[in-house]
């Protein structure tokens, strides 16, 4: 079974974000980057499927040179090889254009399975995978929390709303968007890190044709911090310990919960 895993690099979730001068994106200069949360789980699922059924795990990431660190980490955790779709602006092209470029890069690989995360932690479109499935003409399932590839058809468990679940089956090749928590993520071992140095990272650039599909169906005109609608009482004024003491008092006298 050949599995392609799409992994996006996003800004570190703990970072204090600042808005850039154009007010169209955040200031990236002082940011550290990490792998998109659900994509890490997608890789883990791919590795487990390979351990059970054999085959190959190919990681694919699109973006500037910095995304190589996500790729190297994935190779160290056990992916066999990688495709890097390189380009400085590729992180900002919109979901249809992303999917078009990704489709072009992985089409020739003829995968049995493509795994993506269920949504990116920065733009949060929640759709690149589904559009990609349509472009590749693959059936798909989203918000997947269990995969059973032992039978003739693929069987997947999907999370629905309000505590409901549902199993679906479908033929392969197929595309699944993976929900966080599907299994416990392994760490890279020292051996894995050494082995990763010899693994192939193929760098490709999108064709002019794929890029021309990047017409802006959703152009960001401005980003800003949300207006606060609730009057929150902020306590302590930067002094955490003083805030804690004031809070205890307020919980007793105002909120009357103690």
């Amino acid at each position: 079974m050949k599995i392609i895993v799409l992994m996006k690099q996003v800004g570190n979730k703990d970072a204090i974000l600042r808005i850039n001068r154009d007010e169209t994106w955040i200031e990236e200069g002082d940011l550290s980057f990490e792998v998109n949360e659900s994509d890490g789980y997608a890789l883990e699922e791919a590795l487990r499927l390979r351990e059970k059924h054999g085959g190959e795990v190919v990681v694919c990431s699109m973006g500037p040179q910095r995304v190589k660190s996500v790729i190297k980490d994935a190779l160290a955790r056990g992916a066999d090889r990688a495709i890097h779709i390189a380009g400085d602006d590729l992180a900002h092209v919109g979901p249809f254009a992303s999917a078009t470029i990704l489709a072009e890069a992985i089409h020739g690989e003829q995968p049995d399975l493509v795994l993506t995360g269920l949504q990116s932690d920065d733009y949060g479109f929640a759709q690149t995978g589904v559009i990609l499935a349509e472009l590749l003409k693959f059936p798909h399932a989203t918000i997947v929390i269990e995969v059973d590839a032992s039978g003739e058809r693929l069987r997947v468990k999907r999370e629905l709303e309000s505590g409901w679940y549902q199993w679906y089956s479908m033929p392969t090749p197929a595309l699944l968007t993976i929900q966080s928590g599907i299994s416990q993520i392994r760490y890279a071992t020292l051996k894995g890190i050494m082995a990763a140095k010899k693994k192939e990272i193929r760098e490709v650039t999108p064709s002019a044709e794929a890029l021309s599909g990047a017409a802006q169906h959703q152009r960001v005109t401005k980003i800003y911090f949300p207006l606060k609608t609730k009057q929150t009482q902020f306590l302590g004024n930067g002094d955490a310990k003083a805030g804690a003491a004031q809070l205890a008092e307020k919980l007793r006298t105002e909120a009357r919960v103690i």
Partner: protein, 325 residues
Amino acid sequence: MSNGILVFAEHRAGAFNKTSFEAIAAAQQLGTSLQQPVTAVVLFTDDSLAREVAAYNVAKVISAENPSLAEYTPDAYTDAMEQVVRATDPQYVIMPHTYLVRDYAPKLSARFGKGVISDCIRANASGDRVTFSRRIFLGKIDADVVSDGEPPVFATFQSGAYRAEQAEKGSGAQIESMPVEVGEVRMQPEPAFQEVKQAVDLTKTDVIVAIGRGIKSQENIALAQGLADALGGDLAASRPICDAGWLPIDRQIGSSGQTVAPKLYVALGISGAIQHLVGMKNAGTIVAVNKDPEAPIFDIADYGIVGDLFEVVPVLTEEIKRLKG
């Protein structure tokens, strides 16, 4: 020429998803500003469900019919909706941002060579141009977005962005049945089910101390447990804590966990992503401790402390013990 707003109403197991009515409210408001008619679409319903939508102030209700639509699959829904969109030729297609819509709307929009402006919280029309606002960075920042492409523009609205009660009732819209064709359906669904009853029922607790990724490691959970004990409450968590296996899944609060409304909810190191907020925003008093002053959790908190939870929690625990003393 493209005209009008098409709004998709989702139903499952004989009932509408409440966010469908929120989407109708959004579509109506856009329709009023743009002076364009709103058409609602339902897929494969019995008469009573179609009539429920027809009671809203919409120009008409289209009921797309095909036996393959009896159960949701992305293949069948996309085929059906593609035909409805092509037949009605709207400028905007408005949908609720539900799990079901997330599953098929991008496939639908791809058939029109574009993506979806997803998970919007507002839409403002000025002249004939609509600016959609959506949350990015897990709710930390808002982005205003416009479409420069050809219609239709596909947009989904976040649960709670509009109120279902805002949807205007009308005098009974006409219901038009539209037969649609559905090609090969590759996915086969099995019956939906719920997991066995949870061991911990947090809906009955008065006080909840919830931890998020800010707690950093499993060992630190004892600190939050100490606060919960002092308050006589229970421990809960955001999804990543349960994903990591630090707490069992039945302690998870949010759209894929439990929905609670305790008297007091203390959020420690939780950023406040929408999927978490939907599970706890109706709590009586909400306290948030977070070192990021822009964390969205503060938008719904009654009391906030901007600071390191490892400094706040020990003092808070001691103070509460003393006051209760």
